[in-house]
Amino acid sequence: MNGVILGLTLRLLVRQRRTLLLVILAALPVALALIFRLTGGSMDTNPDFAAGIMAHFIVALVLPLTALVVGTAALGQELEDGTFVYLVAKPLPRWRVVLAKVLAAWIVVAGVVVPSVVLAGVVILGGFQGERLIPAFVVAVLAGSLAYAALFLSLSVRFGRALIIGLAYVFVWEALISQFITGVRFLSVRAYTLGIAEAISDSPSRLLEVSLGATPAVILLALVCVGATAYAIRRLGGYQMSERV
């Protein structure tokens, strides 16, 4: 880890206009929650709504999209515009650089999505006790943010078109394929995230189509984090300047 790079990356990520769009995106579930309450909804009339919004809107859409935009920008932006050379021509081991970047991406993604969970939860649940939905999803989102951030960051190290590939992963793989083919449900960060949420919460609502236990979810998620980060470090170790200027 390197504090200077962490600070620099945080500064660069937060400053972009895209981050504002992501905040608006994260505000949508909260707006929906408000509309829900204003039209008379509550945990009595619609007990599945809270879990549904958190699982199928925040975790399934807001989280991966935010992580995709932030994760591919955290390192990818510098690789693309050539400023990466300033980080590389320094007496710094590559792993420090990568870790700082992953950490920065994680902080920004979690910083955008966790408040969304908390606010939407507070609005919908009101004074409702039980179900532990908010803590469950906060933990799940914290874990999922790290996994997604690491995954998309390492993707951006390998591919210039990481954003499009990530979009395909989120909207084709996670949204469609892994829902229908039970064999591959274990290959989806969304599944791990929801698995963690399901394990912690006490809600009767079904969050996942097919349950994934807590232990497998945590282990697989950790594997993604470590594997993606390690891959990024390795790949950057052999970083070469392209001749095609």
């Binding site: 200077v4 400053r15 300033y86 980080l87 021509a89 070469q240 001749e243």
Partner: protein
């Protein structure tokens, strides 16, 4: 003999079928060395390899005694200014150089930053965002970032691109001073005037090969299959011409604008014979000067070989 700062041994670099650098070997010592060559000759590739940004396909590049590839610690003693790099547009000039100072792990980054900014004369503009800098200013701030840690070796890729004459002169002065302090400065260029003014030694790269190395005037004299041209003015040009034509060292004489243009295949013999022949004929030579010892003619020759 001191050990060379940079050693390139049998280095080649290819991309699929395209050979960018073809079996090049040379040594660079402290002082200013220029890499000269037409566009696409492989100068940038060589610089990137020296800077550790590119791995040689074969051969070895050593800087300060160590391989430059995959050597993060070496960057403490090496500063690099590449042509293509953008700068972090959102940071001010000061913040940008400070960033580099801190990443270098300097004990006192602020002082080092201010010194570097002064060296490149960017002090007044340091609090403006680099995104708003002109091209010349961006170049200077990149140099400041590259020297903030006081490196022994400085590599610059086309550093004078886009600089106006005043900035160019100033940067040349700065590089000369740094070289005088014992540093090794290597820069690439395809502009001959820059090279003539600055380079102690020049490495001419053509089509991926090392075409010549050393002092360019000395290289010129080595080019024996091309006659040298001299401009000679005297008290009796026609008489001198008659005397010179008789000597086997003279390949041709031409009358032009009140002086003679003499071509000679044998530089050594001519320089001895010309005054002697003039004295024997009772003619005084008022002026004698080489016409084609410019780097341009050297360059043209080497590129065409």
């Amino acid at each position: 003999m001191t050990t060379p700062t940079i050693e390139v041994s049998g280095v080649s670099r290819w991309y699929g079928n395209v050979v960018a650098v073809n079996d090049v070997s040379f040594e660079i010592r402290p002082g200013i060395t220029g890499l000269l060559g037409p566009n696409g000759a492989g100068k940038s590739t060589l610089l990137h390899m020296m800077a550790g940004f590119l791995q040689p396909s074969s051969g070895e590049v050593r800087v300060l005694g160590e391989a430059s590839w995959r050597n993060a610690e070496l960057y403490r003693r090496m500063g690099i200014v590449l042509e293509r790099e953008a700068v972090y547009g959102g940071l001010t000039g000061y913040e940008f150089v400070l960033l580099n100072a801190r990443l270098q792990g300097l004990a006192d980054p602020h002082d080092a930053t201010m010194r570097a900014l002064d060296l490149v004369e960017m002090g007044p503009a340091k609090d403006r965002r680099t995104g708003g800098y002109s091209k010349g200013m961006k170049q200077r701030i990149k140099v400041a970032a590259a020297i903030v840690h006081d490196p022994e070796v400085l590599l610059l890729d086309e550093p004078f691109n886009g600089a106006d004459p005043r900035q160019r002169l100033h940067m040349m002065d700065m590089l000369r001073r740094m070289a005088a302090e014992g540093r090794t400065v290597v820069f690439s260029s395809h502009i001959l005037e820059e090279m003539e003014r600055l380079g102690d030694g020049v490495l001419v790269i053509v089509a991926g090969r090392l075409a010549a190395s050393g002092d360019f005037r000395a290289i010129r004299r080595l080019m024996t299959d091309r006659p040298h041209s001299f401009s000679v003015a005297s008290t009796d040009n026609r008489g001198l011409a008659r005397a010179l034509v008789g000597d086997p060292a003279v390949a041709g004489v031409q009358f032009q604008d009140g002086h003679l243009v003499v071509r000679s295949d044998d530089f050594g013999r001519f320089t001895v014979q010309a005054p002697r022949l003039a004295r024997e004929a009772g003619i005084t030579i008022t002026e004698i000067a080489p016409l084609d010892e410019s780097l341009e003619s050297v360059f043209e020759y080497l590129v065409q070989r």
